[in-house]
Each structure stands twice: as structure tokens, then as C-alpha cells.
Amino acid sequence: MLLPSVLLALAFPAWASLGDNVTTVQADKAHMKGSLRSVAKQNYVKHEIQVPTGQIVREFVSTDGTVFAVAWEGPFQPDMQQLLGSYFGPMKQAVSFQQRHGHGPVSIETSGFVFQSGGHARNFHGRAYLPAMVPQGVDVSEIQ
């Protein structure tokens, strides 16, 4: 309740990867070179970065500081490795691990990790989250 509803850039210098603790990733501050806007919700804080090349990426941080979800939209794919962290490799593996070949939007739904990437060139969008870490009372439809 101490958080004002909108916090300006310097209030949250950190930018973390999915599953990381937001307070531990100071080194990522400059990575996206974007402007940061943070909004406090009931059970989490949503940090939104506007990347100079047009993408918008959002990270959802629970009250204990864990990044439980990320989302993105824009004309280009975001730095997915930065966003997904340790989940980037498994995500790529899951995409390639299909019985039959083809191309289209990506949807990975496991009990521990959900990844949904859609759209097409010039208009990409998607989200990833860790179901076990989504705070109680938060509907996953808020992750966008």
C-alpha cells in the first residue's frame, strides 16, 4: 500500500528474467535501453519497458520479488533470451520437439511453464508465465 499507483523510471532500476528475483539483476538495467514504467496491482507490480525499436515488454513481479510472468508486443520479437532467462533454452527445445514439421504460432503449456507467442512479421505478441508462481487471486488473463 506504500506504492503509489504509478512509479517513474528510476524507482525500479532492475529488469529481471522470468523466475528470477527482481532485486538481484541490477546488471540488466541498461540492457533494453528502454523507458520503464511500473504499475502496482493488488498482488504484484507490473513493470513496462518501451524499447526504442518499438517493442513493449512487461514483467510481472510478485510481492516477494519473483518475476512470475512476462509479456511482449511490437513490430519485432523482443530479446527473448533476456526475458525468459533459464527458460529460453527449454522453450526453443520444446518448439523444435514436434512430431510433424510446420510453421505457425507457438504454444507450450506444461505444469511449470507456459509460453505463447503469436502474430507475424511487424506485429508480434505473446506471453510466458510460471503457473506455480502466479500469486493467489491473480487471473492469468491479466498477463498481457
Binding site: P52, Q77, M91, N123
Partner: protein, 598 residues
């Protein structure tokens, strides 16, 4: 008595007209002035002019007049309509209106009747006099005559030989002619003043180049592709006859630009060395990280002349070099993929990961990236300038970007039509269909009864499924299923373990969704009935490559939900599926790309 007399006097005052006797009206109303005017005031033979009178007077006077004309034609005595006759020279006609109530009162006006001109001849010509089907030629006419003749003509067109079956269409006012049928046409300009005087012109219409090539849906080079439609593309060194034919290039209306896998480690068929590299202002080669939704392809940007069916690309508008910029995936002439590219997604730069020898992107955009790659605060991770063994993001002009090859054809360059047959329930091994270039440019690619759905600036339209609108929806031959959010519909659950990209309902689901133009001008939503089956069951027949009942999940983002109408949508569409390129009009219609139609 006195009392009585007063009463009579008052009564007579009240009824003054009646008390005055039967002739009181002529005695108390007079005509003071009669005026006349005619419009128009100058006409020629057989034209008409309407004359009107203004009558002024006192009392209950009559406004009725009788019309007379001094010469030069006839006038209706009652209505005042003057019809000019034939006069030997320009004549001033006096038109007179005479009061019917008082024939001594009249008013006059002057009307000029010009001598009738005579049309002596009409000559017509059309430029260019020889066109291809679907092209335009503009016809003009010169009318010769004497006196005050009309220079106006009406246009008509007729097929006169060589098998054309209709007269084509000619704008009756502008004289612009086009036709989808080859043959010799006679264009006729007919004098409006004297329709018996005409002038002919001849337009020779040659058949357009062959704009139709076959495509095939099969398991592809890796033997396990599902719902991929493939074309064979010929690429040549610009300005030479040195060409290579590459088969099994994925037909993709969801991306833009031709991308071909290089020989060697990438596992492709193309020898890259035949194609000059696209370079920046410092002569450094351009590399590209092309972003698909499910992965990237890394390689060079090189220049090639692209040939498909009878179509051959020219020079990209705005470019000074020959050839179309294409991507050569796995081209070893550029350094290995930079980390800013590998961090975006998985790598699809090999045959094993791409599943095809290339991608033929023919979507609604002119270039793959557009203005976002031309300028801005930071160059996106798309085009790279490569030198000293490293590549760094760079801006790149529109004419240097990987370009929709269809747009660079001299004709048939406003879009494509894809026709594929019906695929039976349960799937089949292979089907073949057609890729037709151009929309409304030849006899085989007219919109016909197809419904047009316009897209927004993001190349999306609106698809509503189970009551939920998806505003970032699109039609895409390069997606291999119906990909849409489950939208709370029962049984739309992803398959477990291996086929997680697809739905695995326990029974075949008959579904309906409705498509709507992004600009909301289509009043009749395009309802589409489709079926989604169990992907695990469908795939159990490993020899099948074409499935009309394949569906899969997609992002459920509020406000930008996506229903991707993949290749199953194309199967069995009676009109085929049209993809129209941005800014390109369809001749003879009101439509301008970008749009889809089916």
C-alpha cells in the same frame, strides 16, 4: 325606418364586391407590367430554352400569358418552352409574353439561336495501341466539323477477331480501355451531336504471360511436413541467363520476401555465389536476421531475378541495381549469426529446422520490414552491416530491403490467388493446386463473387469465435493449421507431449467463426464453417501430409487475440483465396490492397 336604412348600408359595405354588380372584377383589377425571360438565353439547333413570364397588376388579376416567338423555332404558347429550329446563321429571336387578361400588355426578351454546326468526321486513337490483358490504354477523339458543332463523343469497344469473347470495358467518358481477354478490339468514338458519324481505333491485346504455376502439398524435403504448400522457384543472376531452379519453397502469404537455403551446412539447394551481395554505403555486405513467429533465419541479402510461371521480376522501384533483394539463408559469405539475433527465438536456418528449401513470402506488404528498418532511434535486430567478421544492426532503405517478388513483376503484380482442392476428412497424402499471380489482371484471376476483407495497418482483420472477437487475426498459407484461442469452447485442449502445437479434442468438432474487415465496411460478416479433429489421431497415418481438420492454440491476449487461418482454410475454397498487396489497386474495381478475398 332610419334604423333599417343603416343596416342595409352596413351590409353593402361588408359585401362590396357583390353589391357592385356582375362586372365589378374587370372594373377593379388591371395588368400593369408583363416581363419575360428565357433560360438558357443562347442555344443551338434542336435545343430548348424555358421561358417564364412575370405579370404585375392590381386587384385579382390573371397571371396567364400567351407566348409567341418571332422566328428561329417554335414556342409552346401555353408552357413557354422554346425549341430552336435550324437557322442559316446566328439569329436573335424575340420571345413575347402577352397577357391573356389584357392583350395590350406584353413583355419581350431576346434569345440567341446559333447556326447549327455540322459534324463532318471523328478520328480516334488509343495509346498504347498494343497492350497485354489487364493493362490500360487511353483513347482520345478529335471531332471535325463546321459551325457550332459539338466536340463530344461516346465510347464503345467491340471484339473483332482473334478469339476474344467480350468487348472489354471502356469508360464512356474518359475513354480508358482494358480487357482480360486477348484479341483485336475496335474502339469506336461516336459523335454525340450526330451519332451517324464515328471514328474507329484498333487496340491489339496480347495474352498476358503465363501467370499460373502449380503448387503441391506434400511431406516436403524432410518427409514430415504437415499442411505445407510448396512451389518451384527459378532464380537467376541479374541480367544473365544463369539460373537455378529450387523446388519445395514454402508458399507463404503470411510473410514477405523470397528466402532460399544455401548449399552446404544449411542443407539447401542454392549456390549463393551466383548472386551479388546487397551492400551498404561502405560496400559492407548486408546480413539479415529474419523474424518469423516461431524462429529466425540468418543469412545474407543478395540480388536475384526471380522467375515463376511466365513472370520475371524487373528492378525494384527506387533501386538502381538489377535484381530483387532476397535472403540467402546460411550464406557463408556473411559472418555467423550474431547474438542479438539468436536471442530472439530458435534458429530455423537449416533444412532440418525450416522443413523447406526456402520460403516464398507473398503477403500484403511490399517489403519484409518497411519503415521501421529505414530510420528511428535505434536500428532493430533485422538488417546488419557486416565487416571484420562481425555484424551490427543497421538501418536499410526500402528499395534495399527483402522485397515481395510479386510486386516486382512488370504485370500481374498486385497480389496472388491460391487455389487448392478439398481435402477429405482424415487427411490425404498429397494435393496439388495453383498459385496465380495478379488480381483482376487476366481471365483467370478476377475477384468474381469473392468477398473482400480489408486489413488494418498491421495486416490483420477481425475473427470472432465463440463470441470473442480476435482483432489481430489473419489469413496465412504459411501457417499449417487453424490457430486460435480456445475461447472457453469445450474440448479445445492441446495435445499432450509431442503435438502440443495442436488441439486434441476427443471428437471431431464442427465449428464456426466469422470474419470481418478491419475497417468494418463489410456489413455481411464472413461466416466460416470448419472442423477441428484430434491431431494425434490425424498424424497416426504418417504418410498423410494434408489435413483439413488441423487446429491448434494461439495467444489469447485481450484486445489483440489472434485467429490465424492457416493452410486448411485454403482447401476447397470455391473462389480460391486472394492476397492483395498494399497500395496496389485492382483494375475495374474499387478495391486497393491490402486485403484478402475468398
Amino acid at each position: 325606418m332610419r334604423f333599417l336604412g343603416t343596416l342595409v348600408a352596413v351590409g353593402c359595405l361588408l359585401l362590396s364586391v357583390a353589391c357592385g354588380g356582375g362586372s365589378s372584377s374587370t372594373a377593379t383589377s388591371t395588368i400593369t407590367l408583363v416581363g419575360a425571360s428565357c433560360s438558357p438565353s443562347a442555344i443551338t439547333s434542336s435545343q430548348t430554352s424555358q421561358c417564364t413570364a412575370s405579370v404585375q397588376g392590381t386587384g385579382a388579376f390573371s397571371s396567364t400569358v400567351t407566348w409567341t416567338a418571332s422566328s428561329g423555332g417554335t414556342i409552346n404558347a401555353t408552357s413557354g418552352l422554346f425549341t430552336a429550329g435550324t437557322v442559316p446563321f446566328t439569329t436573335q429571336v424575340t420571345i413575347t409574353a402577352t397577357s391573356s387578361q389584357d392583350t395590350s400588355k406584353n413583355g419581350s426578351t431576346t434569345l440567341t439561336v446559333a447556326a447549327a454546326g455540322v459534324v463532318t468526321g471523328v478520328t480516334a486513337s488509343c495509346g498504347p495501341a498494343s497492350i497485354q490483358t489487364g493493362q490500360l490504354t487511353t483513347c482520345t477523339a478529335t471531332v471535325q466539323g463546321t459551325g457550332n458543332f459539338s466536340p463530344n463523343v461516346d465510347w464503345s469497344a467491340a471484339c473483332t477477331s482473334n478469339g476474344c469473347s467480350t468487348g472489354g470495358t471502356i469508360n464512356p467518358i474518359t475513354g480508358v480501355f482494358s480487357t482480360p481477354f486477348a484479341g483485336t478490339y475496335t474502339i469506336t468514338a461516336t459523335s454525340q451531336q450526330n451519332p451517324s458519324v464515328t471514328g474507329p481505333a484498333t487496340v491489339n491485346v496480347s495474352a498476358g504471360v503465363n501467370n499460373k504455376m502449380s503448387i503441391v502439398v506434400d511431406a516436403g524435403p524432410t518427409g514430415n511436413y504437415v499442411n505445407g504448400s510448396f512451389a518451384t522457384v527459378t532464380v537467376c543472376t541479374p541480367n544473365t541467363a544463369t539460373c537455378q531452379m529450387i523446388d519445395h519453397v514454402l508458399v507463404d502469404t503470411g510473410s514477405v520476401g523470397l528466402r532460399l537455403l544455401a548449399q552446404g551446412a544449411a542443407g539447401g539447394k542454392l549456390d549463393p555465389t551466383a548472386f551479388p551481395l546487397q551492400v551498404d554505403a561502405n560496400s559492407n555486405p548486408i546480413g539479415q536476421c529474419n523474424q518469423f513467429v516461431d524462429g529466425f533465419t540468418w543469412g545474407s541479402v543478395a540480388l536475384a531475378t526471380v522467375q515463376m510461371a511466365g513472370e520475371v521480376t524487373g528492378t525494384v522501384p527506387g533501386s538502381t541495381v538489377a535484381g530483387v533483394p532476397v535472403q540467402i539463408i546460411g550464406d557463408s559469405r556473411v559472418p555467423s549469426v550474431p547474438s542479438s539475433c539468436t536471442s530472439t527465438a530458435g534458429d530455423e536456418s537449416t533444412l532440418a529446422t525450416l522443413g523447406a528449401y526456402g520460403v516464398l513470402g507473398m503477403g500484403t506488404y511490399l517489403q519484409d520490414c518497411g519503415s521501421s528498418c529505414v530510420s528511428g532511434t535505434a536500428a532493430p535486430d533485422v538488417y546488419y552491416s557486416c565487416s571484420g567478421g562481425t555484424c551490427t544492426p543497421t538501418f536499410l532503405g526500402l528499395a534495399q530491403q527483402v522485397t515481395n517478388p510479386v510486386w516486382v513483376f512488370p504485370n500481374d503484380n498486385n497480389g496472388v490467388l491460391i487455389q487448392l482442392p478439398t481435402v477429405p476428412s482424415g487427411g490425404t497424402t498429397t494435393v496439388s493446386g495453383s498459385l496465380i499471380f495478379g488480381i483482376g489482371t487476366q481471365s483467370n484471376n478476377g475477384l468474381g463473387s469473392a468477398t473482400v476483407f480489408e486489413t488494418d495497418a498491421n495486416a490483420d482483420f477481425i475473427t470472432t469465435f465463440n463470441g470473442l472477437p480476435n482483432k489481430c487475426s489473419y489469413i496465412d498459407s504459411g501457417s499449417n493449421a487453424y490457430f486460435f484461442p480456445p475461447s472457453n469452447y469445450p474440448q479445445l485442449v492441446p495435445c499432450p507431449v509431442t503435438n502440443t502445437a495442436f488441439y486434441c479434442p476427443s471428437t471431431l468438432l464442427p465449428l464456426t467463426a466469422s470474419n470481418q474487415s478491419a475497417t468494418n465496411v463489410i456489413t455481411n460478416p464472413g461466416n466460416v464453417a470448419f472442423n477441428v479433429g484430434n491431431a494425434n489421431t490425424l498424424f497416426s497415418n504418417t504418410s498423410f501430409a494434408a489435413f483439413s481438420e488441423l487446429g491448434g492454440p494461439n495467444t489469447p491476449i485481450n484486445g489483440c487475440g489472434t485467429f490465424a487461418w492457416g493452410l486448411p482454410f485454403f482447401y476447397g475454397k470455391a473462389n480460391g483465396v486472394f492476397t492483395a498487396i498494399e497500395q496496389q489497386p485492382v483494375s475495374g474495381t474499387v478495391y486497393v490492397g491490402p486485403f484478402w478475398a475468398y
